[in-house]
Subunit: 437 residues, 2 copies
């Protein structure tokens, strides 16, 4: 989607908090999630973030202010998961976006709309969709190079990396939302030089900064999605923390890949920023001339023009000491999704090339997002050189890996001259002590 | 569960076909599935196989012939997926088994029960549960050794194999039932000696003979399941074909494991044989004295006494020539699940040791089941020595790997002196030609 009037930087809302300079959720954003009033037994239903409010789509649908496709879309959003809405496809997504933009824009009628607002401070979130399958990719060449340097000093990135967006299946049951308390996992580790593994609490607990990609429209089993139309199948993106137990991972992952080192938890931010909202922040995607060019099924002219997304990302750490001393979280790194070696469209096209069917609500993880410079790394193992170069925090503490009580706080936003700044909100989750024996 | 009266070899049903010598579904079996009359829009509901009939559990529940826990269990089975029934736990599973055994046993009242029978020949099956996650294990040391010998002549089985039941996450969306037509996948392969991959239809399409394990009762995230009680969480088993594209697999699997080489299809047999029905066919599980003994969290005295299951398994191949000449499928191999290096209980305990939550209806694959001798191999790649020793079929054809039109037919059964022979029925699926251009 090219930029349209719903991206106008001059557009304001009659809802004052949507016009605040610092809000991640101005009128140009309109991200989707699922919520209810906290502490109630209300049904979860779809909502859209605007300023410091949630637009209750069930209430809005009930109020009957929309007509046509936008009304049908709002009705689909009244359910406790957005799968049916996703499945309606991009025309429905766009119709609802434009209807919301008009209703909450400064000239819009306020009476009915006001009654559909719920303060974000008073809600709790649900997973935005029933996630049928979760696939985690491996698409940052800087991450791949950093990891290989640490783990195999004489090695190179695996030869398939430059030819395909490598991926593996992840675990759905343990996916949670920002606010999740993650118990430190236990498992088998083989110490360097040992011949017998031991088992106990993970000693190298890490996060991975990723984007979560929600599939909007799926494909029939046996029919691949061409790269040129692949993005029509993507609804939008959120922030994803791919928790990783590095000691468990090192011992278990040969030959079948990571399993328990990842499956204990994955944390998502509650709001999905739509591909429509992200349109102005597209940028060209190129492959270094000395690298292999993508095979035809992963190649398209549109990709080169605008296949990458300049999504700025940041990870911060808040320890118990930060909380005690009322210090803000310490920023660990900042990078952009535009550095990724493979694009969203290529991930979708590759995922389906062998006939695997995607379904509405499926989740893809982008893989760790690390940029070219050292302070752009998306995981502690990279930032601390596998623990050899601990980070010094303003609290006087150091960190090689995560300690109990640590909260990992991810945030993301887009900005570009002539366009509004839109945000993803926050993805925050905290480590609980292990339970063993 | 020790053997009880529901395993009595002398027990007969008033339904004659349940007493036929050849039936996989005598009164002692009573496997669960989901079905409806073929070609109708009826709701899918739970059923139990008996002789050549399906006991319609929705109709039975409606008829009100059971009381107490068995009635509650039958009511839970009236739904289009058995997750709620699974979640009731082993007392409910057993209560329903015993009530069915009494109702359909030779002394049972026949009038109401007869009205709840539907001929198997007239039904179609649904997936027995909403599968939240699918995990595929790697637990046959004979399979592991066979594969390593073929792919890395100087290599050894990875060192973690003897310490843990290695596993990886599989794909849920493409799981189908016996009768599935599987389109030959396409994808990237790197030919030996080449420096650039090509993409196209798989040239080394294979099956893997496995058992599918349905989780009955899950565990909360962060809480592991002890090995001693792990089997209480297992509802039962079916036959599973883990289709594998060997050329795609070889190129994509480093470092994150198999992905598109597996995710295009997985085929299940429709009937789940319960752990209760399998009780008489338990056998001792031992670890060779020279091998590492399991770590405490994978170890229990009960395992050594009866941790293994003597489930006989067979794979046969039916080509288009077999069908043209009305020949029966050609048996490719026969083995038993008792050879497996790791048990069901160990798989469940290991899966949860890091805190990963299992949910009712989750599916585990046992991993390829190969026995110690050459003709007990559970995949073509082993039987044909990676294609170097093609199989000769009675049709005059040879097979290195699967050809279009080939049907893979898996079957399984248990037998033991003094007990009935119970079967799993059939898992049959056929290869369709690739779509590529």
């Amino acid at each position: 989607m090219k930029s349209d009037h719903s991206h106008d930087i001059g557009a304001k809302s009659w809802l004052a908090s949507a016009n605040d300079a610092g809000t991640p959720f101005p009128l140009q954003n309109l991200p989707f999630g699922v919520f209810r009033r906290a502490g109630t037994n209300e049904a979860f239903r779809g909502g859209v973030a605007l300023g410091d409010q949630v637009i209750d789509l069930a209430a809005l649908s009930e109020a009957g202010v929309f007509s046509g496709l936008a009304a049908d879309a709002a009705r689909a959003c009244a359910q406790p998961a957005l799968n049916a809405f996703f499945d309606m496809g991009k025309h429905a997504w766009r119709a609802l976006r434009h209807a919301l933009f008009a209703l909450f824009g400064s000239g819009g009628p306020q009476d009915a709309a006001k009654r559909c607002l719920v303060p974000q401070a008073s809600v709790e979130y649900g997973l935005p969709a029933r996630i049928g399958d979760y696939t985690d990719f491996y698409t940052s060449i800087d991450h791949a190079r950093n990891i290989v340097k640490l783990l195999r000093p004489d090695g190179a990135v695996s030869p398939n990396f430059q030819w395909m967006p490598v991926a593996y299946h992840g675990r759905v049951s343990s996916i949670g939302l920002s606010g999740q308390k993650v118990r430190r996992p236990c498992g088998q580790r083989m110490a360097a030089g040992a011949h017998v593994p031991d088992v106990g609490p993970c000693e190298r607990l890490d996060y991975e900064l990723e984007l979560g990609i929600f599939i909007g429209v799926g494909n029939p089993q046996g029919e691949r999605i061409p790269v040129a139309s692949a993005e029509d199948h993507v609804f939008g993106l959120c922030l994803l923390n791919d928790w990783s137990a590095r000691d468990i991972q090192a011992w278990e992952s040969t030959p079948l890949g990571p399993f328990l080192a990842k499956s204990f938890a994955t944390t998502l931010s509650p709001w999905i920023v739509t591909m429509d909202a992200l349109a102005p922040y597209r940028t060209s995607w190129t492959r270094p001339a000395e690298d292999p060019q993508p095979l035809p099924y992963l190649s398209s002219a549109v990709l080169e023009e605008s296949g990458a997304l300049d999504i700025r990302l940041e990870v911060a750490l808040e320890t118990a000491m930060h909380r005690r001393d009322a210090l803000p979280p310490t920023r660990l790194s900042r990078t952009s999704f535009r550095h990724q070696y493979w694009t969203l469209a290529q991930m979708v096209a590759h995922h389906t090339v062998a006939g695997c069917n995607l379904r509405s609500g499926d989740l893809l993880g982008s893989g760790t997002i690390s940029g070219p410079s050292r302070d752009e790394a998306g995981a502690l193992i990279e930032l601390t050189q596998a623990g050899h170069a601990p980070i010094h925090l303003p609290t006087g503490e150091t960190r090689a890996f995560l300690e109990d009580g640590d909260a990992v706080v991810m945030s993301g936003w887009c900005e570009r001259p002539g366009y509004a700044r839109i945000g993803f909100g926050e993805n925050r989750a905290q480590v609980l002590p292990a339970k063993w024996d």
